[in-house]
Every structure is written in structure tokens, then in C-alpha cells.
Symmetry: C2
Subunit: 331 residues, 2 copies
């Protein structure tokens, strides 16, 4: 059932003690990873928010990606889920399925990436498990945050007439993956590396998530793709949404890609991996968007609105675009 460790193949306990336990040092209740479980208390007046994402090499990231980038993306996509709920992160648990023969130095680089982001987001490792697999590297992370009692942002509160707003720029992650696959060779190196960075290192919109907690009627992070994730809000809220493709915020690099070939708009609208927030606010709050943008240092774009009905319509020059099945799926 298990394999004994060798000098070249350190055991689970060595990996945990030498590489992962240091990541738990600042985390009260992690007990330096020497106990069966961790303990955690939400601050007074708050409840816990928890999310768990899974990633597989070759499916959710490229086997050639840097270890530190993979680690940080894994952490950040989970933090993005917390941002979408308006939560403040506290810590995380990690399950790592290392492919047989994984170089311990690779694992150290992976942990170094986690360490870097722990500092950036003021969180620590609470616990987890590390096992070996004959399959590809697979990872599961559980992120835990807190939110004032009953104040978690949900997907199901969008109302007819609400404004549909997105943060940052859309489509860079999907285009970054295309860049890595050599499909955007017409771009200059700076634009290519901007898009690749956006693919590798999404920026969870934590400050924005907490700032809109009392303002937004619904919120989601854009992981499956802009259209699919707005459809999730519509489904949960029993509403429809319509937005103008011209209002979807694009980075300078993405704008160049679309200028070269408008077909790339499909990838931008459905490609996923944005980790921006899409949210709805009552129309009466429109005037607050500019202050909100300054306060959170986050670009915000009003792209459309919520209507009665169901489904998502994307208008280009006022005409509904034909898009492939909204929401490509991970299974």
C-alpha cells in the first residue's frame, strides 16, 4: 500500500517536515503540521467561507509551467472564489499528488511559490496531505476565509434592471494560454509576456470583493468564461443578462489580438481563466462605481444589465452574437 522512502526519494514525513511545515509557522492552529488536524476560529461576528478547487497537470496547467507558478495559481484561483463571496482569506489546506519520481527540488520550488503568495495575502498553511501517484501531478487546495455573519456575496440576488459590472480586463488568461501554445506569434514580446503572466498569475480581487459586500446584489469570479459565469448568475437568480461586447474591457495586448482577427473574441468571451469578478448592482448605485474603482485600485466596467427571462445575450453592434455552447466544462 505504501512505499518505503530512500535517500533519493524522501518520504512523506520528510517532505512535510522539511518543505511544508515551514509554511505553517505563522499559522496558529496548524501545530507545525505535527497533529491529525488543524484548529481555526473565525473572528468574532464572522462566519467561515471555504472553497476547494482541483487542478491536473496537462488539463488545468501545462506540465512545462514553473513549479512556483503552478503553486501560486492554485492558491490564487481558490482565493478568487473567496473574493467572489466577499471574504477575507485566513489560511489553506493542500493535498498534493506528486507523480512518481518527482524531483524534491521541484517540490521545494513549488513550496517557495506558496511562501511568496502567503506573504502577499497574509495567510498560512493549515494542513493537508502529500501522496505519490503514477498519474500526472494533481493538486487540491481548500482555502478558508471569513465574512461578517450573513454577509457573504451570493450568485442568486441579481434583480431586473441591475447593472452588470466586471473588473480588470477580460480574456487575457485564455489568450495567455494561446500565447504559450505559439498561436499569437504576431504579437511583440512584451504583449506576449503580459498575456502569459496573466495566465500564470491571476490576481484575486479580494479588496474589491470585500468593498462591494454591501453594494452588489450578486457576484461571481470569472473562471469558466465571462459568458458562462454570467449565465451562472442568471441561473441562480432566475434572470437573464444582456451585454455589449464593445463594453467588455480588454487589455492593450488583447485589443491587438482582436484587431488582428476578430475571431479571437470568442476565446475572450468563453475561454475562462480570467479570475476577475463579475457582479451586479442596483442601477441607483451606478454613481458609486467610480469611487469604488479608486478605493480598490481596480478598473471597473459597466457592460450590460439584468433583465427578466433566462440566458445571456451578447450584442455586437446591437445584434446578438452566435457563440459556442456557453461554458466549456472541466469534465
Amino acid at each position: 500500500m505504501t512505499q518505503p522512502p530512500t535517500q533519493d526519494n524522501p518520504g512523506e514525513f520528510d517532505i512535510i517536515r522539511d518543505i511544508f511545515a515551514p509554511l505553517s509557522e505563522s499559522q496558529a492552529g496548524a501545530y507545525n503540521l505535527t497533529d491529525d488536524a488543524a484548529t481555526l476560529s473565525p473572528p468574532s461576528g464572522t462566519e467561515l467561507v471555504m472553497t476547494k478547487d482541483a487542478m491536473v497537470s496537462g488539463v488545468h496547467f501545462l506540465a512545462s509551467d514553473e513549479a512556483g507558478h503552478i503553486a501560486r495559481k492554485l492558491l490564487r484561483v481558490n482565493l478568487s472564489d473567496l473574493a467572489a463571496m466577499g471574504a477575507t482569506p485566513m489560511g489553506y489546506l493542500l493535498a498534493a499528488f506528486w507523480s512518481h519520481g518527482t524531483d524534491p527540488d521541484w517540490i521545494r520550488s513549488f513550496a517557495e511559490g506558496l511562501k511568496q503568495d502567503q506573504r502577499e495575502f497574509s495567510i498560512g498553511l493549515l494542513g493537508g496531505d502529500t501522496v505519490s501517484t503514477p498519474g500526472p501531478l494533481s493538486l487540491s487546495l481548500t482555502a478558508i476565509g471569513h465574512v461578517p455573519n450573513q454577509k457573504a456575496l451570493r450568485r442568486n440576488g441579481a434583480q431586473q434592471g441591475d447593472l452588470l459590472v466586471v473588473s480588470g480586463s477580460i480574456g487575457d488568461g485564455a489568450l495567455g494560454l494561446k500565447a504559450l501554445r505559439g498561436e499569437l506569434e504576431f504579437l511583440n514580446p512584451d504583449d506576449l509576456s503580459f498575456l502569459v503572466d496573466r495566465y500564470h498569475l491571476p490576481q484575486p480581487r479580494l479588496a474589491l470583493g470585500t468593498a462591494i459586500r454591501d453594494l452588489a446584489s450578486s457576484c461571481i469570479d470569472i473562471s469558466d468564461g465571462l459568458v458562462a459565469d454570467i449565465a451562472h448568475i442568471c441561473d441562480a437568480s432566475s434572470m437573464a443578462a444582456v451585454f455589449d461586447v464593445e463594453k467588455v474591457p480588454l487589455s492593450a495586448a488583447a485589443a491587438k489580438v482582436v484587431a488582428k482577427d476578430a475571431e479571437f473574441l470568442t476565446a475572450i468571451l468563453t475561454g475562462g481563466d480570467d479570475y476577475e469578478l463579475a457582479f451586479t448592482i442596483p442601477a441607483a448605485f451606478e454613481s458609486r462605481l467610480s469611487d469604488l474603482s479608486k478605493q480598490t485600485q481596480t478598473e471597473l466596467a459597466y457592460i450590460g444589465k439584468i433583465e427578466a427571462g433566462s440566458g445571456v445575450r451578447v450584442l455586437k453592434n446591437g445584434t446578438a452574437m452566435a457563440l459556442p455552447t456557453a461554458g466549456w466544462r472541466h469534465f
Copy 2:
């Protein structure tokens, strides 16, 4: 990056909506798995306890094991970690990496196993993720419980002179695996199926864990093997332990195996997969063991004691046994 679903290969969203969302129905804060994250509050005066284990087909269970058994074992090994901390379970998150082409009926049987144990342990599904992998079926589960503030059982409190106690019977899990591999054909069918059941369906000692919270100086669940797990207590407590192999409680089936060939004692002592509790109590509490056993309907055996020093000695007829490296490891 992702694959579109087909009629024969339902998508992630279908799997979640049709098979897993029903498992979250009774769980407040799971939002029917339609949101980015779940919310959870520990009862007043308690803190949360969380643990996360990972399992891989062919490493931690047999590919031929029944789906429902795999699901229940996954849940139970995590509940066993909560038991070792003296915690009461509340809910869990699941990450499933299904092998490409996994039959949805197999996934339904897996979920049915979870449903059965949710009823048994009064818990529900809080959230998680489901993805597809070219590798073997892999699973990660995060279990969450609560414990009165600052009352979690730890591994690091064993004191010189404390008594070493174990619950239930030891070695059945390791022998059950041997039975499945056809190595115990000399046993009768009833004994074989007893051992196999113990391997497939460990019994997390939750009632015992909560009952010894104010009594035990240290506690661990026996997953790596009796000797290795007692060594974990010794390491964390900076103590040594000594116990008599004759006092280690064996089931009738295990006793028959040892009577046939005493070499099987090694597997019993080091094989893991017991999911019983090993704990230490001050010697003054010895008289309470019998009441504790009745109250929790759990057999308890006093097998040895804690001494100054380091490491674990196992005595057979008063002489230290030579055992392979204590603690086979999962990496």
C-alpha cells in the same frame, strides 16, 4: 483546456447538479453547490477542526474496490482524524479526479456511499470540485468539525508514567488487505470477510475521541501503523514508549492468523489502516478506563506506558522485538 460534455460523458456541471448537489441538501451554507464557496459557523464556544486526506487508486485502495466502499473509507479516514482531535464532525468538501471515461453510474454509486455515511455521521457535503484526469482515480476530502475552544486533543502532551491505551483491535485493516490479495486462504470465509470489511470500512472512534477530551494527555489515530503512530506521539511529546505485544488487542480472526504464523505480527504492528485511537492518560486515571469503555461502547486495552527518552520499544516475552523501519510511508 477543457472538454465539452457529450451525452455519454456528462459535464462537470451535470455531475455536480445531478449527483453531488443532493448530498448538500441538509447542509446549511452549502447553497446547493451553486455558489463559489460555502459558509460555516462553529457552534458558540467552539473552534473548528479541519483535516484533509488524499487517496489514489492502486496506492491507497484497490481499483477493484466497490465505489461505495471507496467513498465511505475516504470519508471515514478523515473523520478518524477529527476523532483523534476530540472533534465532532460538521461537514466536508470533496475534490474528485475521475479517470477519463469513468462510468457515471460508478460515480452515482460513489455518491450513494457518501450519502449512507452522511446519515450515519450526521454530516453533509459543503462543496468541492470534480475534474477529469488521464491518471488513476484520485480523491481528496476536507473534513470539518468543532471542538470546545482550546480543548482539541493533541499529540504532544504525553508525560512520563502515562498509560498507553488503544481502542478496538489492531491489525485487521492490514490483514484485510492481505486477505484481498489472497494471502490468507487458510482462514474460513467468515474470518476473511470480517478482515476485508475492517479494511474497507474503518470505524472512526468519534464517541471515544470526545469522551477522552478531558482525560487524555495525547491522542492519535492509527493510520500509519501502531508502532509508527505511537512514535509520532513520542516525537511530539519528546518521550519514549514501551508496550507488550501480548497486550495488543487482536480480533479473533487476527489471532488465528498469528497462531498460523507469528510472522504476521509485523504486519499487525506496522501495517496501518487501523483507524483506532492510541492515546495516553495519567496513571491515576486507570480506574476510569472501564467506565469509559462502557460509556463509549468501545473496547479499550492498556498496552504499555510512556517513559523518558525517545523512540518506541515493543516487547515480546519481555524482549525488544526487531521491527522494520517504524512507519512505512505514503511517498
